[in-house]
Structure formats: structure tokens, C-alpha cells
């Protein structure tokens, strides 16, 4: 309604001004959680889209930290943006537009084969894709080369294990200056944490979402938590998230950490702080295959958008080679772009792509059960409790499983 009014007004004004382009404007509202540099990149992409489509205006709406609240309010009140960044498909998919038909229609023009299918799969609910990836990241370990050199510790190898990481980390501990070799999270985002479960051969919840017992509290799961708790107990790693709100990346920037497990989003800050860092793949659990979680920034379309075709054009543009090249704060979803920019051979970027190559066999827990959010709260509690007590992983995970029963129905 409001838009119509605006449209009418804009038209009236332009007619009155006898301007040449009396077509009026069409506006696309695009919501993003990014801020700062990433936001500027998206605005630039939007500007280029506007330039390529005269008469179209893109209203970029950055909600930053308040993204979920804002999205809930606007969806709840029936006034969502046309296009938005999305990750929580299970909660929103009923109000999102399935994109499969659009993709099928334009598959050739878009050169969809250039995009790893694993990325699109992160947006699927019941087989339908609700998002089109625009950028992604896998997880790696950053390490401070200067510190390694100074301490005379050998740099991480191509295929290293957690045991090796721990052995290295122990050598950096300096009580006086509060230096640690590594950091473990007591309150991790479970979305990313599941990669450790996967790498140790288990998962949070059964593939069909029917059970957590025997998964979340499996011996392998207990092993993961116990390992991190041991690292904390032996001071191989500082514990983040309980009592220390200093983020791991802040400590890494302050050279208080020799190694830090993170993703693309930390890289910009490390560059800015002038840290001489290297990047290693995630370590493996013995000889088990390592698996990273994939964080994809994907674009979704509101079901009720007034102009789905235009919105699709906008989404498509975001995954075009032109746009993907601009996104320096995450990784290009197009293999061709990555190769063209020589990322796959660059020692800093290569580990990310190596991780991507081995990380397409699992999908995240939240896609498997509608009550995952509440189950996850119990898991978070178990992780936190284990890290506080620096042990008792089995007991806490069993407890989480028991607490989750009523949500599994």
C-alpha cells in the first residue's frame, strides 16, 4: 500500500517535472546482517545492479546485530523485505519463495555448474532450495607465524591432528604474559561446533532427526568435549565465553594466542592488525576424515514479494561472477572465480577450499528437527558445564539428552 502511494507520488512528481524517464521507480528492499566493510561491498553490488537496471532502486537495510529481531517483527507483521540474507530456513521457509523453478529456468545463463552443489544444499528444506548462495566460508586454523618462529615450534602441517595441535599449543603457554597456544569456546555457536562431531564420526542428531540419544551423547561426542576440557585443564588453551568476553580474534590480534580456529570473517581484522599469520586446515581426530561446517551467506526471497521476477534478478546478480569477485570478506562461490583469482593455490586461501572439498557429506542439525532450537539450548548447557568443570562430559551430555526428550516428540 505504502509502496503504491510512494510510486504514485514519485510518478506524479516526475511527470510534473517533465523528466524524460517518466517510468517511475521500482524498489527492492534487501536486508542484510552485515555491517562495516562487508556492507559496503553489498551496497556496491546493489549500485551496480541499479546501474544495470534503470528505474530500479535497491534499498539496502542493514540490521547488523539486531537482524533476527528485526526480521521477526517484519515477518510477523507481514511487511518483510523482498530479499534478505538467510540462514535459519526451518523457521522461515514457509514464508520464503522456493527458488528451484527460477534456478531451473536460468540454469544455463547462470552457469550453475560453476557453483558447488554442497553450497546450495545448505538451503534445502524437504528437497526445495530456499536460498541462493552469494558467498561462503569454511573453518580453518589461523596461526601466528612470528610466534611460531620465536618459540621455535614447527608450523602446522598439511594433514595434522588434534594431538599435534595440542602438543604445539602447550609450548606457547606463558603465565606471566597471559599467552596461550590455542582458544576453546565454552559457549560456541553449535552450528559451527558440529564440525568437530562430524570429524570424530558422530553428529548431534540422527540423520532423520528421530533421536539424539546415541548421537549427542555418543562416546565420540564425549571424546570431543573431553578433549577440549582437557586442553583447558592443561592450559593448552584459554577458555572463551565464560568470564572472558574478549573474543578469540581480539586475543589473536593482541598476540596472546598462537593459534585460533575461525573462518573468513576473522581474516580482515588480522590483516588490518598486521599479524603475520598462516592458515591451516582443521586438524583431524587421528585418521578419521576431517569435516568443516560451511557458513553460506545465501539470499532468500519473501513469498509475498510484489515483484518476484525482479527480486530473482537481484538474487541472481549477487551470485554472478561480477558480484562474487567483489566479495573480499568471504569466499567466492564460483569455482571459476576462485581459480581466476588464483585463490585455490594461494597458501592463505587454499586451506579454505581444501576444507570445502571434504565437507559435503553432512548437513546441519537444525535442518533435521523443528524443535532443534530448544534441543540445542540443552547441548549448549552441556558444553558450558563441561568447560566450567573441565570434565564430566558424559554426565552433562546425558543430561542434555534427557532434557531434550520432551522436544523430540
Amino acid at each position: 500500500m505504502k509502496h503504491l502511494k510512494k510510486l504514485a507520488l514519485a510518478t506524479a512528481l516526475s511527470v510534473a517535472a517533465l523528466s524524460g524517464t517518466a517510468l517511475g521507480e521500482e524498489t527492492i528492499r534487501f536486508a542484510t546482517w552485515d555491517s562495516d566493510e562487508s556492507l559496503e561491498i553489498q551496497k556496491e553490488i546493489a549500485r551496480r545492479f541499479e546501474a544495470a537496471n534503470p528505474g530500479v532502486k535497491v534499498q539496502v537495510e542493514p540490521y547488523a546485530d539486531g537482524y533476527d529481531q528485526k526480521l521477526i517483527a517484519s515477518f510477523g507483521a507481514g511487511n518483510p523485505p523482498d530479499v534478505m540474507y538467510m540462514w535459519n530456513y526451518p523457521k522461515y521457509y514457509t514464508s520464503l519463495m522456493p527458488l528451484d523453478e527460477f534456478m531451473a529456468r536460468d540454469a544455463e545463463a547462470m552457469n550453475l555448474d560453476d557453483i558447488p552443489p554442497g553450497l546450495i544444499n545448505t538451503t534445502r528444506i524437504d528437497g526445495k532450495a530456499y536460498g541462493m548462495p552469494a558467498g561462503f566460508t569454511t573453518h580453518v586454523v589461523f596461526y601466528n607465524k612470528d610466534m611460531f618462529e620465536a618459540a621455535g615450534v614447527e608450523m602446522p602441517s598439511e594433514d595434522w591432528t588434534w594431538a599435534e595441535l595440542r602438543e604445539k599449543a602447550a609450548q606457547f603457554r606463558d603465565k606471566e604474559n597471559k599467552v596461550y597456544g590455542f582458544a576453546v569456546e565454552a559457549k560456541p555457536d553449535p552450528f559451527d561446533y558440529e564440525q568437530f562431531f562430524w570429524s570424530n564420526g558422530t553428529r548431534f542428531i540422527a540423520k532423520d532427526g528421530s533421536a539424539v540419544d546415541g548421537y549427542m551423547n555418543s562416546p565420540e561426542a564425549v571424546e570431543v568435549l573431553t578433549m577440549f576440557a582437557d586442553m583447558a585443564a592443561n592450559e593448552e588453551a584459554v577458555v572463551l565465553g565464560i568470564g572472558d568476553n574478549s573474543s578469540g580474534s581480539a586475543l589473536f590480534k593482541g598476540e596472546k594466542l598462537a593459534m585460533y580456529q575461525s573462518a573468513m570473517w576473522s581474516k580482515g581484522g588480522f590483516d588490518e592488525a598486521g599479524i603475520n599469520y598462516g592458515v591451516a586446515k582443521l586438524p583431524s581426530f587421528g585418521d578419521k576424515p576431517v569435516h568443516s561446517s560451511i557458513g553460506a551467506s545465501a539470499m532468500s526471497m519473501a513469498k509475498d514479494t510484489k515483484n518476484p521476477d525482479l527480486a530473482w534478478e537481484f538474487i541472481k546478480f549477487f551470485s554472478s561472477a561480477e558480484a562474487v569477485k567483489l566479495r573480499t570478506n568471504d569466499l567466492p562461490i564460483r569455482t571459476s572465480v576462485a581459480e581466476e583469482m588464483e585463490m585455490t593455490s594461494d597458501p592463505i586461501f587454499k586451506p579454505f577450499f581444501d576444507m570445502l572439498a571434504v565437507s559435503d557429506s553432512e548437513s546441519n542439525a537444525f535442518l533435521k528437527h523443528e524443535n532443534w532450537g530448544k534441543i540445542q539450548a540443552n547441548l549448549e548447557r552441556a558444553i558450558e558445564a563441561t568447560m566450567i568443570e573441565k570434565g564430566n562430559a558424559k554426565k552433562h551430555l546425558d543430561d542434555a539428552v534427557a532434557r531434550s526428550k520432551r522436544h523430540l516428540n
Partner: protein, 311 residues
Amino acid sequence: MSGVYDRQYQRQKFVEKLTPYLFISPWILGFFFFTLGPLVFSFVMSFYDWPVVGDREFIGTQNYEVMLTQDPLFWDSLWVTIKFGLFFVPFNIVLGLLLAVLLNQKVIGSGIFRTIFYLPSVISGVALVTIWAWIYSHEYGILNFLLGLAGIQGPNWLGDPNWALLAIVVASLWGLGGTMLILLTGLQSIPKELYEAAKMSGVPGWARLIFITIPMLSPMLLFTFITSIIAAFQQLTIALLLTGGGPLESTYFFAMYIYDNAFKHFEMGYAAANSWVMFLIILALSMMVMKSSSAWVYYEGEMKKGGNKDA
């Protein structure tokens, strides 16, 4: 003659009856525009399974039943909030009063002191929490650094379930500049003669505080009492950003429980039911305080018994 006189009287009486409603009409209108609708809406919502998007389903009182009988977080978070309130409310009032009394004396640079004490209230939430995170940080914080200089091994303030709630209480009290100002305003309206007279008759300072200041300040104390209770129950930002409710839910406030149900779990109906329970609890507490107030609040301007209808 008498007809005109009576008609005038009727009109005057009508105007008198109408006047008070005209004065409070802005709020009445605002209530109908901006409060009543949302209130009714949320009440209706509390009887539904109401995801933000997708199908809503009427489920009767199920939200309330689940909350009261199956959800341990409901009781846990309520208990955390009550514990918080038991610390926060008295300290907020007592310390606010103390500061106000200190500043009510004739001191050089009192304007600057007042500004300083109000300073934390001026800093916005995000920044305030960042500051406290830095102060409390176990390994890298200024508090433990200073304690370390004194040879004391400081606890893990925000990481230890035994300390975290207290740490949040202290951080919340940083904003007592508002309470201080309210009480200071109240102190200013107490006649100096009362103190002078008491001083002349040799009443010691503490007795002047108890027998003059506190009774004369009681309307403002009532105000801070009730609003502190409300603030305690609505405590969210600091805990959300500082501890996220942890460690082990030791700072998981009732308001955060509602927030999570709404914005993490997308269960608007359940969150609405939570809110209504919270609303009723605060209302009951406030009513108790209001009811008790006739016994301890002294109003200088109170209307004579039975009232003064045309005043």
C-alpha cells in the same frame, strides 16, 4: 434570575466533572492507540501456538500448562530474577539515597559531581556492556589486574556461577544516577527550616535522616521502589550482552527467557504467555507496595479526607 444562576451552576458542575478527564486524556488516548491493542493481541496470542511465520493453531491454555509444569527454565529464570531483585532493589534505593544526600550538601563543584554520577546513565547499552566485559574479564580484566597488584587472586567474575549474578548486580547499579537524581529532586523540596529546627533542638544527623528526610522523601521513595522492582524484572540488556544468561543459567533472567522464546525459538505464543505471567507477578508486587504505601508515604499535598471535588 435564579434560572440563569442554576443553569450556570449546571454548566459549571459539568465542566468540573469533565476537566480531570481532559487533563488525563493524552494518556487515555495513547493507551487506546498504542497499548491496549498490543495488549489484547498478546493475550490472544498466548493461547495459540504462534510461530512467527507459518500456521498458527489455537491450543487453549497449553502454553501456560507447559510453562508451569514442564519447563524447568521458567522456574529457574524466575528464581534468578527474584534473587537479582533482592539485591538490586534495596541497593539501588539505599545507594541512590546516599549519593543524593551527599550531593545535597553544599559542596564545591557539586554540579560536576552530579554530572559524573550521571555519566554511566548517559552511555548507551552496547558500550556500557563492552566496558564491563573489560572490567570483569577473568584473564585480561582490569579488576583482576588491580586485585593482582594487591596480591589477590580474583575470581572468574562472569565465569563462575557463584559470582556472575553479583557481578551483574554491580554492573546494573552503575546506572543508579537516575535514582540519585529523582531522590535529589525530592530532597530539594524538603524545607530547610525543618532541618534547622531539628538541629537547634540537638537532633543528631542520623536521626534527622530517619525522622525528617525519609518521611518527607517517601513519595519519591515509593516511586523508586516500584520502578526498581519493574526494572529488576525487565533486566535484560546487560545480562544478554555480558553473560548471555550463563554460566549455567546463573544469570538467565526471566526477561531473557521471554526474549529467547520469542527471538531464538520463534514461539511468539509461548513468549506472550510468559510475558503475561511476568506482567501479573510485577503487578501483584507493585500493588502490594502501593497498598502498603498509605502506611509509610506522607503526601504534603494530599487532599483532605473525602476530598475536594472542585480543586
